[in-house]
Point group: C2
Amino acid sequence: MITRRIAMAASALTAVVPISAPKAAPMTQPALAPTDVTLRLARHIVAAKAADLPAPVRHEVSRALLNWIGVAIGASRHETIEIALRAIKPFAGPPQASLLGRNDRLDIMNAAMLNGISSHVFDFDDTDLSTAVHPSAPVAPALLALAEYRPMSGSDFVLAMAMGIEAECRIARAVVPPHTDIGWHPTGTCGVFGSAVAMSKVLGLDENRMAHAIGLAATQPVGIREMFGSMTKSFHPGRAAQSGMLSAFLAEQGYTSSDHGIEAKRGWANILSTRQDYTAITDGLGDQYEIMRNSYKPYACGLVVHPVIDGCIRLREAHKLTPAMIARIDVDIHPIVMELTSKRTPATGLEGKFSVYYAAAVGVVAGVAGERQFSDAAVKDPVTVALRDKVLPKIDSSLRQDQARVRITLTDGKALDQFVEHAVGSVENPMTDSQLEAKFKDLVAGIIPAGKVQYLIDLCWKAETLKNAGDIARAATA
Amino acid sequence: MITRRIAMAASALTAVVPISAPKAAPMTQPALAPTDVTLRLARHIVAAKAADLPAPVRHEVSRALLNWIGVAIGASRHETIEIALRAIKPFAGPPQASLLGRNDRLDIMNAAMLNGISSHVFDFDDTDLSTAVHPSAPVAPALLALAEYRPMSGSDFVLAMAMGIEAECRIARAVVPPHTDIGWHPTGTCGVFGSAVAMSKVLGLDENRMAHAIGLAATQPVGIREMFGSMTKSFHPGRAAQSGMLSAFLAEQGYTSSDHGIEAKRGWANILSTRQDYTAITDGLGDQYEIMRNSYKPYACGLVVHPVIDGCIRLREAHKLTPAMIARIDVDIHPIVMELTSKRTPATGLEGKFSVYYAAAVGVVAGVAGERQFSDAAVKDPVTVALRDKVLPKIDSSLRQDQARVRITLTDGKALDQFVEHAVGSVENPMTDSQLEAKFKDLVAGIIPAGKVQYLIDLCWKAETLKNAGDIARAATA
């Protein structure tokens, strides 16, 4: 009781501190202590230059951008978006920015939120495998919306996106796994930092104001895991994109916050995790780039079933298989696969994502496993259903999670074997640029005009050379 | 590593669940388990009727409303608001709702946020002493903004405000003190529930959709204590008001969330506290009302120094004291007072709030201690400074925190004693209605036209009888 009273009294005593007028940048910056985590991060990002980014980093930003735009356009007509748009539209501001895959335009705050939601509806966006952060969804929507409102070069866009991803993934690495185990959804809780930092970089905030933008982000963590399985999961990166954007605009105008939002005793990391490894945030800045660990999903379902799909597609292609040729499909899998995807007779697209039987069959029948292959209609296709019933999974505890062994026995008795060492999309076996293009084309088909598809792909590949990054947004509409 | 991989895989497997079309309300509601905390709360609030509210509860809503509008108008020209408005305005929607104390109009989402910030800039708003939640700041701004956009009766407004406060304070009681000790600012983290519930009540959401609004609120906790001492502290109730409003609008349109956002294993209470007493949320609903514990601050500074100011004002009034009559002021105080407010020579208004010397002097000189008495100019007033140097505090550990003993010795040698048993504004000695009116008048003077002040006060007192609660907002502008 005493403790509470003191805390309350102390709280009641605090008040707004006066802000100082913007100053000219000092010739030499004040020294920072190793414990000044927020300020060290801010200082690095303020100083970062496009020319410093290694070519593979710049190319990886293009890959992330292409993948992100594809999944966001792909989900842009989903009822999740229709509902959110209905809820928000009466209160939205001027038509400043595009909704990807649509013809609606909203103010940039709401556009960032809606495009952030679209990014994650299919759960098909990029993943930082070591933290489970989906890096692009909270960052790219904020940046792209801003690019339509306040023109920025492609080079600035690429740098800001790299820096946003740098911040959110490093901050996540400082606090996982306990952060996630406690129940937070790091794509939202860490993503808000990514958005705030990327926005602050483009707005040209100085070190102090960028630290305050980070502080404002720290006080707005969004996303708890109880929401998985509902539309609220995809709300997380959407609100994170918007909250980070708001943080940057407030800080830009001089709204004050803490310089120690991440590391303070009652700061973000201590409150949201039982583990704080601040070296993950401050070590190797500018030497290692988080985006180089980024991974992309080739198949629109849980990662655990990817090796099986992979093996089936490889055999299909190597032997020009058709369903009629096949007598049975044996798959040896890691135990987790049966734990999570043991549904024998999926009745909906969503159930199809939880069926290793369906996943193997669709790999053989379609040769791809995009969102389209997990529609309610697709899982009822008679040819695929017939093949699905010939799939025989067997648990093999000696396999890693990204491995699988597939044996397809033909009606003529011949057996075809495929061992998958690393599924496509793993860090060891990343999707190629052309695989990313194919995924993109599959996602956007029928949503944006066919004539614009290759143009948009090209814009992503040459993003860093664009005069105006907003061109990407304008090309991504319906 | 395995654990993380599994979590990630599971995450990657989840997807959006289809929503069902709205159904007609069933004749009998499904039974709820005692563990269905979110649904029990939602069911109670859906069923609540204005006619069920006891008269003292309705009157307390008017008191909270009057106090809240006063502090929000009082802070409406503070640089915190100027900055936030500059940051937000370019992206705001149609001019649907008023900013209190100003002539600006914004869309209701942004108006709720800005008015929520104004509510807390002075830290002079109402307090639930057992949880340190400031109940009105996250709830009233959302409701009042909505009232201008979608007309609602005063009776509906009063009921919704009572229900919002009910939800946020009960949820806070379930998780404090650990929730606050960990570092959360419950006015933001719990306030978002207050806003979501109040909005959902007025929008007429059914039990399921109200539960989803609560779920959306649960995933957006705002406010960490590291931000105390900066403008970001007052951002917390502002963003909470807006996030709750957004939650309600999303749920209204069918955006899905969890039915167990509060109590689930990876729900709000388990993630944000080490203590979960769900009976604080579900017991006695409709019998006890949280707003009956609400308290209002008479003085614009920390609670610990209130008993001293109280004693000084009582002696001033009883003996018609003027500074020239006074030789010395002895004050016996609880140890916490010297711990927090020992500044001898405050140079700014903010420092004045941390000076028991100044506080005692200003009580005698001014007879009030509002925000005006804690301005930079006021603390330099020569008469008050001279008297301040005659204040002699002494620690008395036998005193409670809301007690003080004041002895004023006159220049003629006569000594006047005043023992304060409970400071004004404590639950045992609440501010009277006329004291609330005086506080209101002091706060709004010079900001809204003098001719509107009494009219606005009267609107608050008769809030429950208004045809259109939006009249209050329109009367509260400059």
